[in-house]
Symmetry: C2
Subunit: 353 residues, 2 copies
């Protein structure tokens, strides 16, 4: 992660040192001690406290992981990535669908408790930051990152800087409408992109195929003994990798919708590169090739414009904790220098690993 620190001197870099990154997902909390070059030195992992539990329980979980990790090394900052809307001060979680947080002042609570500087960041922003600094987007300055998990998370890097929006919640691409009156989404609306190109959509379509007892779904039906509720996105992806036609088609459908949405984002953002991350992206070209085809088809001005590349993310499921550790670390000297933090986070000097 030193990449974007290339222009700073070793002396200036020294105080930044190690940072702890914590990535709070819907089911797991992953934590690690991260070096300025993006290496993870130590790891901890635990279950995400149930949504019904009070916010305090998640705070306890985070504090416990930090105390364990800092017992063995000296860290200068803590970054917390969460799947939710984080305000522009990177202090409060406004809303997290999978957690009990509603306008939760997480940063200040943890800072007081841990005695360390803390930054809270949206998980897609955090993992995008890592990919741009030391992953698939290194050496590229204008990148849109799309993370395909249960839903779709997104982040935007403009001219080497993370773009957060006026209120900190830019990049919610998963909730752009692509089908009027389409499938109902967990956000309350209908026809959101993530209802057509995410782990959730692949699972839903596969279950409907099995429930319909369609002959094309024979392998899937056998794999779950006829019980559609046992189908997961991972199963579909495994069967597709083995060549099962129905599962290949299910990924093609999701990939095709992925490409349509990417073409929309290209019209709006005109990036140089799309990085596709998240669990579903591990399907690789089974997903990305159909996406590239439909992207080219749906891209406005094709023939007259340079086309953005579409690449798979490189850092896997540690991207979030690597990215947020670095964001926490790099917030340190800036705050001292009195530079503005709102809207854009700078990654100017990053080059190579």
């Amino acid at each position: 992660m030193a990449a974007h620190l290339t222009n700073t001197t070793a002396t200036a870099r020294q105080p930044r040192g190690l940072a702890i990154g914590i990535d709070i997902g819907g089911t797991k909390v992953a934590a690690g001690v991260v070096t300025p070059t993006g290496r993870v030195l130590a790891r901890r992992r635990t279950e995400t406290p149930d949504k019904s539990k009070s916010p305090k329980v998640v705070e306890d979980t985070i504090a416990g992981l930090v105390e364990e990790l800092r017992a063995d090394c000296s860290v200068s900052a803590v970054g917390v990535a969460a799947a939710g809307f984080v305000d522009e001060r990177r202090a409060s979680v406004l809303f997290a669908p999978h957690l009990a947080w509603r306008h939760e002042p997480l940063r200040d609570a943890l800072r007081t408790r841990l005695g360390l500087p803390v930054v809270v960041e949206n998980d897609a922003n955090a993992s995008a930051w890592a990919e741009v600094c030391v992953g698939a987007g290194r050496d590229v300055r204008d990148v849109v990152v799309v993370n395909l998990g249960t839903g779709i998370g997104g982040a935007v890097v403009i001219d080497g800087r993370l773009y957060r929006g006026r209120h900190g919640i830019a990049g919610e691409f998963g909730h752009m409408t692509v089908v009027p009156n389409g499938h109902r989404c967990e956000c309350g609306n209908r026809g959101c992109w993530e209802q057509y190109a995410s782990g959730h959509s692949v699972t839903r379509e596969a279950r409907e195929l099995v429930a319909a007892d369609s002959p094309v779904a024979r392998t899937l039906v056998q794999a779950v003994g006829g019980d559609a509720s046992l189908i997961t996105g991972t199963l579909v992806s495994e069967l597709a990798a083995k060549g099962d036609r129905a599962c290949v088609e299910l990924l093609e459908d999701a990939g095709t919708w992925l490409g349509v949405g990417l073409a929309n984002l290209a019209a709006a953002f005109d990036p140089e590169l799309f990085v596709i991350g998240g669990g579903v992206s591990e399907c690789g070209d089974l997903l990305l090739e159909p996406a590239r085809r439909s992207f080219r088809r749906a891209l406005t001005g094709r023939g007259y414009r340079p086309e953005a590349r579409i690449a798979a993310a490189e850092l896997g499921n540690e991207a979030g904790l690597i990215g947020v550790a670095d964001l926490a670390r790099e917030a340190l000297p800036r705050r001292r220098q009195g530079r503005r933090q709102r809207g854009l986070s700078d990654c100017n000097g990053r080059r190579g690993r």
Copy 2:
């Protein structure tokens, strides 16, 4: 337009002086001498040369207008706004649907011919710049501008700076797909936003209503003597303003689609303000109220997030020439200072008029 020059000294501003702005639309070319405070001192207007004519004819038209205008005053730069894709160096028009330009190196040709510094800019970027500096977006730093004309043009101002994208063609919102397999668009795709929320869409729907000889369209039918081909967006807007129910509904339909697209843009960009410009926006609340309603309905995370405001543009059809004149003027000292021009154009110091 001096607004964003507040932080520069009077001495530094002096050399910028007057600039000429030229806005090339599908039917008219508008030109004017613009002061650093955004006032238009002198104006010229002519027909846009037919698409079948060679690029040289448009160049002649521009050069003629500049020579006329500079005969009476000393200008320091020329800005040319065009409805098309302009490259990231603001030198070439890659593609302009209504003109003969294809990868046309307009900037250098005009610079040589006129002996003045020239900047070429997308027309939506130019008018957005004017609105942010001295129009509806002054004092706001994160603004998305949507111009409703025959089609939809767009522009993004992030933290007070114009965002152009990696290749100079960000903000092509009109060609984001909102209806899969929807109406065919002039860009070649189907279901583009501008097929549902633009002057073109209002005209098309009104013509279909009249062609269907629907009783609800009685006033419209009478107004054009039964000849649907005579219907224009302006007519629909005039009849709606007089209270004709069918025309009010046609604007409601366009406004509702406008709100859906704005909600998509809010999910992606999270701006503080949307400014709605272009000829169609002159319908005012007949269009904007339905847009605000459907925006609130389609906005993801409603209830947990601050909502962007939606305001009408203030500068009318001179916004493009005012904005591009200023962009040309402000490119002058920067180039001398060797500052980067790609991607973001700074409007940092603008405050008030």
